[in-house]
């Protein structure tokens, strides 16, 4: 039986894991390699590493970080943040990523999705979408606005139609972040997640708003998410994936346990 995945996300800046609310007030949360290993040991099904600075100068630092993190990691490992071309993606794969995630660059040039997929397989291409509900739209959820540049600029696309195009172009998974929920710890945006998950045939990873076990149960149920991603609740030892999963099993959600 297929289980629902719990994914630990590490936001990385200059080779260190950082945590802040909506990219401000960054606090150092530790070494990426050590944290990734700890999360995997504590039951995370997958690790996502996002380079939140993604500057040109930072590329080499990122590749070193990916290499170090991948070395002793034997669960799926996704790397994203600022990947602009198939060549940059290839470097990240060579450094040890199993999947890469693309966001702004795919919106700018959607053929990037198929280009990376051609060399590395569709399963290796995650399209990350940052979306915010649009109260002006006829359907504020399905027509939620897609944003680029870390949520600063509207991309002029609507969430469901963009997710469908990404799938058609060969995305293997969608990583959907609700900008309304991100950083609030008040729960995932289940309506948004369900709208996207129901519109595509590839897995949808829900992100933004994780705060309690009930939030995860909710996004796997009502939200129809295939996987859920959380960053802050796993840092500073607040909650381990294993504890989370034990409670999810009690709530009737199929997860990988023991892990």
């Amino acid at each position: 039986m297929l289980t629902r995945r719990i994914i630990a996300c590490l936001d990385v800046h200059g080779g260190r894991v950082v945590k802040g609310v909506q990219f401000v007030d960054l606090v150092d949360a530790g070494d990426p390699a050590a944290l990734a290993a700890r999360h995997a040991r504590e039951g995370a099904d997958e690790i996502v590493l996002l380079d939140i600075t993604a500057t040109h100068e930072g590329r080499q630092t990122l590749l070193d970080t990916v290499r170090r993190t991948a070395r002793e990691l034997f669960v799926p490992f996704t790397v994203g943040g600022g990947i602009k071309s198939a060549e940059e993606a290839a470097q990240v794969f060579e450094a040890g990523a199993d999947k890469i995630s693309v966001n702004s660059a795919a919106l700018k040039d959607p053929s990037l999705i198929s280009e990376i997929g051609k060399s590395f397989g569709a399963q290796a291409v995650v399209v990350a979408i940052d979306a915010r509900r649009d109260p002006e739209a006829k359907d504020p959820v399905r027509d939620a606005q897609v944003f680029v540049q870390g949520g600063r600029k509207p991309a002029g696309r609507r969430v469901v139609e963009w997710a469908r195009e990404a799938e058609e172009r060969g995305a293997g998974e969608i990583l959907l972040t609700s900008m309304d929920s991100d950083g609030t710890r008040a729960g995932f945006d289940c309506e948004l997640t369900a709208a996207v998950s129901g519109a595509v045939n590839i897995p949808v990873i829900a992100s933004g708003g994780a705060g309690t076990v009930a939030h995860f149960a909710d996004v796997f149920g009502r939200g129809k998410a295939d996987a859920a991603l959380a960053a802050s609740i796993f840092h500073f030892g607040v909650s381990s994936a294993r504890l989370l999963k034990e409670e999810l099993v009690a709530a009737g959600v199929p997860v990988r346990l023991p892990c």
């Binding site: 669960v75 060579e94 996987a227």
Partner: protein, 216 residues
Amino acid sequence: MRVTVIDYKAGNLTSVLKALRHLGAEPVVTDSDLSLIERAERIVLPGVGHFAATERLDRTGMTGAIREAVKRGVPFLGICVGMQWLLEGSEEAPKQPGLGHFIGRCKRFPSGREKVPHVGWSSIETNIVGPTLFRGLKRIEYVYFTHSFYVPYATMIREADGDLQVVDAAQAEYIVPFAAAVEWGNVFGVQFHPEKSGDAGLAVLRNFLTWEGPQC
């Protein structure tokens, strides 16, 4: 131990190589050098991607070299598409033949009920006779899959005397029951990614690397 890893340009080998090294093996990669297959102590055929990519194995002569090595008793492990290739073919690329070591063809999961591809950690149940690949593991384990095509449940081999034998070593279910792993003699296959399946996956790889032939 030297392990020859076959590169047929269908995806990334980094994770497989890393896992093999972690377990103390010395992987050598070939995308055409037949001598590395002829001298191989063990062979691993990884694979993420399209079944059509296995055409490269035919074009380079690697298919013939692998067939000979398998006949000599060299332990062989196919991962994902590498396992599917052990059958006669796949719906994914109907004109591309597989090795034909096992009987049958790979099929696509029926669409409609659930999402296809099947992506994520699924439970597998190992065969009651105690397959080599799952030595030391529990009957039920969780491993990581990512695939749209599958090797049918109860896949068989035709032995030299004409007898048919089921080769499933573990089974899983997603929409339909399917073979999660096969093994017969020195030939092994896993549909999941042992290099990405945590401790259970590493144990499967270790079991393959340490297999010393049939025990009497």
